[in-house]
Amino acid sequence: MSWIQQITSRLRAALGKRQRDRMLDEELNTHLALLIEQNVERGMSPEAARRAAKLSLGGADQIKESVHDHRGLPLLETFVQDLRFALRMLRKSPGFSAVAILTLALGIGANSAVFSAIDAILLRPLPFPDANQLMQISQYHLKEKNLNPFVAPVRLEDWNRMNSTFQAMTGYYAEDDSEISGPLPEKVTIAFVAPRFLQVWGIAPALGRDFTTVEERFGGPGAVLISRRFWENRFGADPNALGKKLRIGRFALTIVGVMPASFLFPNRDVDLWSPDGVGGPYAQNRDLTWYTIIGRLKQGVTLAQSRANLATVQSQLGKQYPKPDADLAVNVQSLKEIVIGGIGRSFWMLFGSVSLLLLIACTNIAALLLARSSRRQHEISIRFALGGSRTAIMRQLLTETFLLALGGAALGLIVAAAASQIFQTLAASLPRVQQIHLDATVVLYSLACSLIVTFLCGLLPAIRAARKSIAVSLAQASFTQVSTRNRLHWLLVGVQVALAVTLLAGAGLLIRSFQELGRVSPGFQPDHVLTFHISASYGETTDLKAMTQRIDRTIDSLAALPGVSSAATSATLPGVPSESPQEFKVAEGQTDPNRKIVSDSRAVSPSYFATMQIPLLDGKSCRELPSGADVLVNRSFANTYFGQSNPIGHHLSVVGNQYLPLGEIRGIVGDAREEGLNRAPGPTVYWCISGAVPDPYYLVRTLGKPMTMARTIRERIRSIEPTRSLFDIVPLTEHIDQSFAENRMRMVLLSLFAATALCLACLGLYGTLSYSVAIRRREIGLRMALGAVPRRIATGFLLLGLRICVIGCAVGVTLVIAFGRVLSGMLFGVSPTDVVTLAGVIFIMLIVAALASLVPSLRASRVDPMVALRYEE
C-alpha cells in the first residue's frame, strides 16, 4: 500500500464516525464532571453526587444513539445493514432469487435493449457540433404536384447571400462513379459539394486541409477529400496519400485531406468529396435543380423564424426572376428529422410493448413476493414483537426487492449489450442503426428501471407484510386457512394474463399482416431477377445520345448472355417505394378538363415489361425512339383518366417539364404493385427511355438462381466497359425484402416479447396456483378424509386457474380493441380487431394456461388425508 493511500484511509477514519463519537464522549464526560462538582457543592456526598448526576444526564449510549439519528448518517448505516441482511435472506432461498432475477433480467434487459436503440436512433443528436442547428432546405412548386426537392446552384447562392437567419448554407449531390487510376475500375461514392461545405458541418479534416477558394471555383484545380475508410482500404492509412491524384472519369483530383471516421455524410458509403463549381455555365440555369441544401442556423434562431426569413427571400427572388421563382416556395426541416424519417413510430410501439412486458415481470415478482412474505409472517411478527418499527420492516423488505431488481438489471445489461447485434441483423438498413451500443446512458437507464421496479413490485407486498394486525393473525392462521383469501394474488395473475393477451394480439396481427403480404400477387414476377448498378457520372448527360446508346448496348449485350432470358433498365426498382408522382397533360384534351391527371411516372427500357413479366393488355409494345418517346400506361391509369374512351394514340406531357418529349400512348399494360407489395397499384405512366438517368438499375432475368449469374455478368461488363465498375449485385427479391425490414423487425421483436409475456404470465399462474394449493393442504386433506373424489378436487383447482385466465383474456381483448389504433398503418390486410387473430390468441392463452394449471391441480388431488391430522401438531 502506498503512503498516499495510507494517509487518505487514516484521514477518512479520523473524519468518520469514530472521531465524532470520541468527541461526543469527551463532551458528555465534561458535562458529567461539572454536574458532579455542582452536586458536591450543594452538599451531597461524592457517591450520591455521582449517582444523581448520572441519573440527570441519562445513559451515554442512549444519547449517542439519538445524536446519531440526527446526524443524517443512520440512513446510510441502516441501508448497508439492510443490504447485508437482504443478501443473506436471498442466499437462503436461491430458487426464489434465481427465478425473480431471471424474470426481471428479461423485463429490464428487453426494455434497456429497445431503449438503447431509441437513444441511438431517435434521441441522440447527429454526430456534428451543435447538430440541432443543421437544417435541410428544399424548394417546392406552388402550383404543380412535383416532389422534386432539389435546388438550382444559382438559387442556393442567392439564398445564402440574402438570408439573415443562417450562418451558412451549402449543397451537394452524390453519385456512384469509378476511380480508374488503378488496374481495375473501383466503384466510389462521390459527393460533389458546393462552397462552405465543411463550414456548415463544423467539422475539419482529420488530416490535411479544407478546399481553397481557388479549388471551389469552376474550372479550378481538381481537389478531393477522402473518407477515413477509403484512406485505410486504398492507401493503408499512409499519410503520404495527401497530394496523390485520383482519376474520376475525365478528371484528375488531388487528395487534399482525410475526413474523420465519424463523418459519413450524405451516406455511410461515401468515399470522396469534391468541389462542384457553382460558377459553371450549367449552374446558372434557374430550372436545372440538383442540389440538396443543408444550412446551419445562427445561434438562437428558431425554425419558424428561418422559415419566415426564407419565405421573404424567395418572394424577393420571385420579383427579380418571375419565370421560375415566383411559383416556388421554400421548406426548412430539421436535418435529424429527415435522417430518422418515419422510423420513430415503430420504436415507440416496441417501447410500449416492452414496457408492458416489464410490467408483467413486475406483477409476477409482486405475486412471488406476496406469497413469500406470507410464508415469512413468523419472522416478521417476531421482529414486530422485538420492537421493529413498521418503516424498518418495510425498508428491509424493499431493500430485498431492490437487490433482486439490481441483479436483474445487471443480467439485463447482457441482453442490452446484444441489442446492437440484434438490430443490425434484423434491420441493417435502418438509419443510424450502427450507432446502437451499450453506453453510460443505457446503464443509467437500467439502474433507473431497477429503482422503478423496486417500488412497482415491492411496495404492495411490503405494505401488506408490515401490517401489524395481519402479521399477527396470519402467523397463526396460515395453517388453518380454508377459503381462498388471496384475492390480491389472483388480481395480479389476471393483470398478467390481460397484458400478455394484449401483446400476443399485437404480435398476431403483425404476423398475419406479413402472411397477407406473401399472398399478394404483385402483378410482376420478382423471382429470378438479378439487379445491379454500373458506375456512371451525371457529366454524361451533356451527351444524352451517347449515354443512351451506351446503356442500350449494355442491355443488348447482357440479354445475349447464355442463361439470361432478358435484360432491362429502370430508374426505380419495381416493388420498392420510390414516390415519383407527376402531373400530366393530354395533348388532345382531357375527358374532364378540371380534373388533374396525377400519376406515378417511371422510366424504363422497352424490354422492361418482358423482363418483369408485366402483360401487355392492349395496343403495341413500346420502342426506344431517337427523339420523342413511347409511353405505356397501366390499366388503372386508363380506367381512372380515360374511363370508357381508349387512351391509345393520345399524347402525354409532364406539366412543368419542357425537357421531356411528348409521349405517345402505345398500349396498356397490367397493374403492378410497383410502389411496394403493400400498396394497391395506382395510375402509372411508363416512359420507354432506357437512359433516363446515367446509372439506372439493371434488371436481368435469369434461367437459374440469379446470383449464380453474377460472375458471368461481371466478366461481360468488364469486357465491354473496362472503365466502369459494377456494384450492388443483389437479387430483386432481396431488395423487396429489405424494404420490409422495419416491418419484419417490429414483427420479430413483438413476437419475441409476446412469447416472453406468455411464459411469464403462465409462470405467474403456476406459481399462484401452487401457492394456493400449498396453503390449503389442510383443507384439502380434510375434504379427502371426508370422502371427496380426488378428481373433483383437481378439477376445482384447474377451473380456478382457468376462470382467472378467462377474465384476463376478456380484459385483454378489451384493451386490444381500445388501443388497436396504435398498430394502424402497420397492418396490411387485417383490421386491428381481426376476429381470427383474437380467437387464436385466446385459444393459445387458454391452452397454455390449462397446461400451467395442470401440475398444481394434480398435486392438490394427491394430498394425503393424513396431513390434515398431522398439521394440527
Binding site: 468527541m23 465534561t30 444526564l57 441519562g58 439519528d69 440526527h70
Partner: protein, 115 residues
C-alpha cells in the same frame, strides 16, 4: 425536599430555550446551558439533560448555532456553543410565535374559567 410537581419541557420548546440562553449569556458549553435553563426555571422544569445534545446537533445542522472547543471553568476541554446570525433571527421568530401561542392559550383558559 421538592414538593411542587415539575413540568416536563414541552416538545419543541427546547430549541427556543437553548437559543434564548445562548442569546442572553453568550458562548456556553452543554452543562452551562442545562444549568441556566434549570436556574431560570427555578428548578421547576424537569430537564433530562441528555436530550440537550441531540437538540444541539440539530440546531447546529440548521446553522442556528456554531460550536468551538475551549477550556471550561474547571480546566476541562469542552465544546462551547454560540448563536449565529441566522440563529438570532430564528430566535425572534420562535419567541414571537411562542408568545402568540401563550396569549391564545391564556385567553382560552380565562374564557373557560368565566363560562
Amino acid at each position: 425536599m421538592i414538593t411542587t410537581p415539575k413540568a416536563e419541557v414541552l416538545q419543541g420548546t427546547l430549541d427556543l430555550l437553548v437559543l434564548k440562553t445562548l442569546d442572553t449569556l453568550g458562548p456556553l458549553h452543554g452543562f452551562g446551558i442545562a444549568r441556566r435553563i434549570q436556574q431560570a426555571s427555578q428548578d421547576a422544569l424537569l430537564l433530562n439533560q441528555g436530550t440537550l445534545y441531540p437538540a444541539l446537533v440539530r440546531l447546529e445542522q440548521r446553522g442556528w448555532i456554531r460550536s468551538k472547543w475551549g477550556i471550561s471553568e474547571n480546566n476541562r476541554r469542552a465544546r462551547f456553543y454560540s448563536l449565529t446570525k441566522a440563529g438570532r433571527k430564528q430566535l425572534t421568530v420562535e419567541a414571537q410565535s411562542w408568545e402568540r401561542m401563550a396569549t391564545i392559550i391564556a385567553r382560552l383558559l380565562v374564557g373557560a374559567g368565566e363560562a
